[in-house]
């Protein structure tokens, strides 16, 4: 659901159009990355594979994303989750569960729960996709990831109420796609890791189509995320983004 949404933003973000060369500042790079998320409408189907102690589970969903503020996700599989819908309207998140025929607002503590048992929380999915609004960025290193030359940016929070005090992101120097991200606690302890495994060119954009999220403190293999299809500049009726459409 919302997770999908954010993942989207992330991925779009990474989706950088291969722009210029340039010796930019950290801020410039981040701006580029943010810009690449794009504020256009998208429709995507995705599969999430959650590796747990009991084995792995696959969850499929389809999302309609309207700019960076609204999104609507419907779960397709497994059967039990099919029909569950999630609506994000700016800061608010709603979910509809067909068996109860109720629309429930996810707020407060519930936002900290894991999404479908994955290594991501609703909150992770809800955060502002434009990192520049939240962090100051500095280039601290250059390196190679996925055989791509990257800048490593260190992001330090510039706002107070933020989940992760600092992050490191690996940004593809040519494509402006973020390929890896580490999220840290205030103390500097690594909490979460996000890695792109595969990037593909779709409709002339670079799209990470296979990613892994992992809670760094917890043992386990984390959660994998696959983009099965994505359509940019899609035509989406605005009426979709209302609570009425959840039912």
């Amino acid at each position: 659901m919302k997770k999908t949404i954010s993942v989207f933003s992330l991925l779009v973000l990474m989706t950088a159009t291969a722009m210029t060369q340039a010796p930019p500042s950290g801020e410039d790079i981040l701006k580029r990355v943010d810009a690449n998320i794009g504020s256009d409408n998208k429709i995507a189907t995705a599969e999430m594979i959650i590796h747990g102690r009991r084995g792995s589970r696959s969850i499929k969903s389809k999302s309609w994303i309207y700019g960076i503020e609204k999104s609507y996700t419907e779960y397709l599989a497994p059967a039990r989750e099919a029909g569950t819908k999630m609506l994000k309207l700016e800061e608010q998140l709603w979910t509809y569960i067909p068996s109860t025929d109720r629309t429930i607002k996810i707020s407060g503590h519930m936002l900290r729960q894991s999404v479908m048992g994955s290594d991501l929380s609703y909150e992770d999915m809800m955060e502002d996709p434009e990192l520049l609004n939240l962090y100051n960025a500095n280039i601290i290193e250059e390196s190679t990831f996925l055989e791509r030359p990257c800048w490593i940016l260190e992001l330090t929070a510039k706002v107070e109420d933020i989940s992760y005090h600092s992050r490191k992101i690996w940004v593809d120097k040519e494509r402006y796609v973020s390929l890896k991200e580490e999220r840290f606690a205030r103390s500097g302890k690594l909490l979460k890791v996000f890695e792109v495994k595969e990037v593909r060119s779709i409709q002339n954009r670079w799209v990470p189509v296979h990613m892994v999220f992992k809670d760094a403190l917890k043992s386990g293999k984390g959660t994998e995320y696959f983009i099965e299809s994505i359509e940019f500049n899609a035509d989406i009726p605005e009426a979709l983004f209302t609570k009425a459409s959840l039912r």
Binding site: K189, L191, S219
Partner: protein, 391 residues
């Protein structure tokens, strides 16, 4: 007045037999009081343990604090008001800051409560002095149940993750500096005690607390705005309820012991009425009415319990006092953890009500039991009685 004097003289005159009964009865006295005291002590133990380890002399809760709603904890902290701060500085109170946290022993996630407490506090009996340690790592104190559930041992390091007042994640390595044994699960299960000042700075909640525990014996509870005073009656509600329900079981022991004492008296009464027919006849011949004789014999029986109470007092008071002072030590108490001083000796508790109640009850029941066999006297003919016959 003649009857009581006569009764006493008869009783003392009977010598050995009277004293045997009195001694048995006095044993019952002492035992009833001791066992009841022990039983009450057992009931009080939970109360005392919980008071010592957790409740102190009452608490002030930050207005949003609710121990049963962990979700509310993120808003349940604020600066300690001045009046409480003064108490804390005078060691009359201790502030506790509580925050939800996650620990990862061996990569497994456990949701816990992180509780900050002043290592130098003396308001509750937790061995917080162990938290007084310098170093990079966060010193942490946990209970045996928590240790068992998480597999943590003294000296182990475990990652703790929490969110500070702004919602920002923070994580540190905590070092288990001590594992305490306590009979109070609510200071043990799924929680970790850390030094208050460290926790306040790590969570960016300077001088803040979720609750303040008052020292036992605190008598004044001023209004503090934004904080709610919770008295002992409220805090001990659950235990009181439990003890009330359980005390019914205690009265069964009480009853059985009472029956035991009465058995001895009844036996004696039956015998003395059987043996002293001639005496009764003589008394009747001398003009004493039957009811007077019944009074006499009943009084004799009842006086057993008066004598018994006296005898019981002679040896019982020092014995019970000694028992209350030393308690009943539990041998396995001398284990590695023996710090918190909880649940290691069972101290009997004798209330005035218990002692007075027992004496009155025994007196009453003895009188009844003494009276029952005397009804035979009512049917006694003086002539038969004089000849030693019982019809």
């Amino acid at each position: 007045m003649i009857i009581p004097r006569l009764a006493l003289r008869n009783l003392l005159g009977a010598g050995l037999r009277t004293w045997l009964n009195v001694i048995v009865l006095s044993f019952s006295f002492v035992l009833i009081i001791w066992l009841q005291g022990l039983y009450k002590g057992m009931g009080d133990q939970a109360r005392v343990a919980q008071t010592d380890a957790e409740f102190g002399g009452g608490q002030y809760w930050q207005e949003n604090y609710d121990p049963f709603d962990p979700l509310a904890l993120q808003d349940a902290h604020s600066s300690v008001p001045e009046s409480l701060q003064t108490l804390i500085e005078n060691k009359q109170a201790a502030a506790i800051l509580i925050s939800q946290a996650t620990i990862y022993p061996e990569g497994r996630l456990h949701t816990i409560l992180m509780k900050g407490i002043d290592p130098a506090q003396s308001v509750v009996t937790l061995p917080t002095q162990f938290l007084d340690q310098e170093g990079e790592e966060l010193p942490a104190l946990i209970g045996t149940r928590m240790a068992r559930n998480t597999g943590l041992k003294v000296g182990d390091t475990v990652t703790v993750r929490w969110r500070d007042s702004q919602g920002t994640f923070d994580a540190r390595d905590a070092k288990i500096v001590q594992i305490m044994k306590t009979s109070v699960p609510s200071v043990d299960l799924a929680q970790m005690w850390v030094p208050l000042d460290k926790m306040q700075s790590l969570t960016r909640m300077k001088n803040e607390a979720s609750l303040v525990i008052l020292a036992q014996g605190t008598e004044e509870f001023p209004q503090v705005s934004g904080w709610i005073h919770k008295d002992m009656k409220f805090l001990l509600k659950d235990i009181d309820y439990l003890v009330k329900t359980k005390s019914v079981g205690g009265s069964i022991i009480y009853t059985i012991l009472l029956c035991l004492a009465m058995l001895a008296i009844f036996n004696t009464q039956v015998l003395s009425i059987f043996r002293r027919r001639k005496e009764m006849g003589t008394l009747m011949a001398m003009g004493m009415t039957r009811s007077k004789i019944i009074q006499l014999f009943t009084l004799e029986g009842a006086m057993h319990s008066v004598l018994a109470a006296l005898v019981a007092a002679i040896y019982g008071i020092p014995l019970l006092a000694w028992s209350a002072k030393t308690g009943w030590a539990m041998p396995e108490a001398a284990d590695d953890y023996g710090i918190a001083g909880i649940g290691e000796a069972l101290i009997p508790v004798y209330g005035t009500g218990l002692v007075v109640g027992t004496v009155v009850l025994v007196l009453l029941v003895t009188t009844i039991v003494s009276f029952l066999p005397t009804r035979k006297i009512a049917k006694l003919k003086p002539t038969d009685a004089l000849r030693g016959k019982m019809t």
